[in-house]
């Protein structure tokens, strides 16, 4: 047998046997209504849309499209629940409800993981090991805050805001729902949440969990739909707070729409994080960090390490090792436990990614993709890197939201910082070096809300997350994440 050129040819001798996650235990209804005031109800205008499996393009379910009227009903239910049981309840009791949600998610974790992968295309390994356990952990973490808020903000009295309108994206559907709902409830607010139109199923399953946990009707309402439904939430006069995770463009539209109102807002928006590799880094670990940074969740990650800045003296070595590693990545069936990169979330997103690949080449970048096979049906994108790109190139400046990495080099420390900070974004960053002092200098200099040093794409309910600059306003997670759902006033 010839010695393969690729030093990481794990797959050289034998093919991986398929290892699909079973779905026989998964219950998906043919049609879902809107979860308003504790019940699933039909949309007033009777409209439904399909949600499909992006790996097979097959329909999974019909989902209600909420109109202004439905959103209004949901807000009324949330307002009544806020005035009634929820804001009057002892905080410790409120916390117990939230603990229940955490526990039921843990019990049903396998089902949630399978549905997340079916509806969104992400590898089961990620939905099983990251999305769903973290979602449960978020509820568990914030449940405990419910009766301890007076200790979080010294010298201030914390009060709930009222009704929160929450709009979440399709990249981490269940996890984002948890990020939004858990702190809102712990702080004594009630919620109207809209999941993304391509990934509504786990939020609707979460509605079942919330009903099973016995939460008073109207405390959490879940309305499905696309941009128009979201706009109805943003513009509803009886909502006190908008929490949005999504693109920077839509974030700006929301911020303008809220101008002149008393509504508070937190916005988690786009990113174009630089992953910075110094010559003194542990190179093999750094390569794993690059792979995790950009290929995790197909690159559908706002904090993805979508730019690689590598010190010139090790650039050739890092890029060669990265290419070898890319060859080992398995693109395919999201439900297969061997899969590294699942399906692109939607046709629309695939079109967008492919248009950026064309732009990158037109701008003079050199594109390299792994040679893996991809399935015939469904939406797929091979892991991709661009070299020979410069700071002004669109693939360097703009968020692609796919498995596409732009690689640049640097010589000096200052050059790395200048390049890293030279985008309108500031969500995250990564640095790889063996020198402690350099780590601290780097982490101080990167203008971003989250910095991973010698690691990347780690998340935890106790860890605040959110952006500088055009990556958003406010934090989610940890003690700092409570702020988004409280009014702080003088201690009376």
């Amino acid at each position: 047998m010839a010695i393969p050129e690729n030093k990481l040819a794990f797959n050289g001798g034998w093919e991986y046997a398929p290892a699909p996650e079973s779905t026989d235990h998964v219950r998906i209804d043919k049609r879902y209504g809107l979860f308003i005031n504790g019940d699933f109800v039909a949309p007033e205008k009777g409209k439904y849309f399909d949600t499909i499996n992006p790996a097979s393009e097959e329909k999974l379910a019909r989902v209600a499209e909420a109109s202004d009227v439905d959103v209004d009903k949901a807000v009324k239910a949330a307002r009544d629940a806020y005035r009634g049981p929820w804001s009057r309840m002892k905080p410790a009791e409120r916390g117990k409800y939230i603990y229940r949600i955490a526990r039921i998610i843990q019990e049903r974790a396998r089902e949630f993981a399978a549905i997340e992968s079916l509806d969104g295309g992400k590898p089961i390994r990620e939905s099983r090991d990251v999305d769903i356990p973290l979602a449960a952990a978020h509820f568990f973490y914030y449940a405990g805050w419910a009766d301890k808020l007076d200790y979080a903000f010294p010298g201030r009295k914390a009060r709930p805001m009222g009704v929160a309108g929450q709009i979440i994206p399709w990249n981490f559907p269940m996890l984002m729902a948890a990020w939004k709902i858990a702190p809102a409830l712990a702080c004594g607010n009630t919620v109207v949440l809209k999941p993304a139109e391509t990934t509504p199923l786990t939020a609707l399953k979460l509605a079942e969990v919330i009903a099973d946990a016995g939460l008073p009707p109207g405390v959490v309402n879940i309305v499905t739909g696309a941009g128009k439904t979201g706009a109805a939430i943003v513009e509803h006069p009886d909502i006190d707070k908008i929490a949005f995770t999504g693109s920077t463009n839509v974030g700006k539209i929301i911020m303008r729409a809220l101008a002149g109102t008393d509504k508070k807002y937190t916005l988690e928006l786009g990113g174009k994080a630089a992953n910075i590799i110094f010559a003194d880094a542990a190179i093999d670990q750094a390569v794993e960090g690059i792979v995790n940074g950009i290929f995790f969740n197909q690159g559908h990650v706002c904090c993805a390490g979508s730019r690689l800045l590598v010190q010139e003296s090790v650039a050739d070595e890092v890029i060669a090792k990265l290419k070898d590693r890319m060859e080992t990545l398995i693109v395919g069936d999201p439900l297969d436990k061997n899969t590294d990169i699942g399906a692109i979330n939607s046709r629309m997103q695939l079109d967008k990614i492919e248009s950026y690949l064309a732009v990158g080449k037109e701008e003079g970048g050199t594109m390299h993709q792994s040679s893996c096979r991809v399935p015939q049906k469904g939406y797929w994108c091979r892991p991709t890197i661009f070299t020979g790109v410069s700071q002004s190139n669109r693939v360097v400046q703009e968020e692609i939201f796919g498995p596409v990495l732009a690689i640049q080099t640097f010589r000096r420390f200052d050059e790395a910082i200048t390049k890293a900070n030279n985008t309108p974004y500031g969500l995250s960053g990564g640095v790889w070096t063996d020198k402690g002092a350099k780590i601290f200098k780097m982490t101080q200099s990167i203008r971003a809300g989250v910095v991973w040093a010698n690691t990347f794409n780690k998340f935890d309910p106790a860890s605040p997350f959110g952006g500088y600059k055009e990556s958003g306003v406010g934090r989610e997670g940890g003690l700092h994440g409570l702020d988004a759902y409280l009014k702080l006033g003088a201690v009376s």
Binding site: R156, G260, V450, S463, E470, G478, H480
Partner: protein
Amino acid sequence: MSRIPVAKTYKIYIGGKFPRTESGRYFPLEDSKGKVIANVCRGSRKDFRNAVVAARNAQPGWAGASAYLRGQILYRIGEMLEGRREQFAAELRLQGATSRAADREVDASIDRLIYFAGWADKYQQVFSAVNPVASSHFNFSVLEPTGVVSILAPDDSGLLGLVSNIAPAIAGGNTCVALASGSKPLSAVSFAEVLHASDVPGGVVNILTGFRSELTEQFASHMDINAVVYCDGDRKTSRAVQTVAAENMKRVIRRTGTDWSGADAEHPYLIRDTQEVKTTWHPIGA
């Protein structure tokens, strides 16, 4: 023959210098009897842009200064103001304050500077956190200054209102450009002279005088401003400010209706308003 007093020329403060407005425009400030007290610079948008450049250039150095030093410099501003109490009181009287009110405002302004001077090396400890993540990482969150802050200072409180907005911004390592009260602008210019004598590096605080109607939009829309603080205005102003601030996702801080002599104006959350939370992860291992 009695001595002729020397009147002061009121100028603006940009990058540690006292230029006149580049526009050459002015507006006369009159006392209650209609007598002209001073010709005040009617600052322009170009003045503002120049001030932003100065503030941006000064920002890394100021943020990089030790918290101890920032605290001492804020304290020094208080010391200098204390030494010029009489001048400031007289100026407030000239702009319509009663003698008692003028004294009170100057005293409160000095005390406010001392208050925020003390916070400079403490707010970080109150607002930072070590986060107990479930994986084997050391994870901590600290505050960092958001950058350059534009401040539309309150109109009704020419000295105290200005000080109460500048002090928390710079205590936290931001640099700023402030627009003085329109109706009582003199104290702001004299305060700039105090800043100048207090080891505040040039560009850390920049103060313009001028018309709110001309400059509000510029203060809220400039793409190199990270946060805008505004203290007056109705819903229409709010809408205008936030609408243009959205273009680069400025932090918008509304402080309308604040009683600048009350407890509302004296707490560390005013520092936190212009801070960003940064969270750092590092693996724990051998």
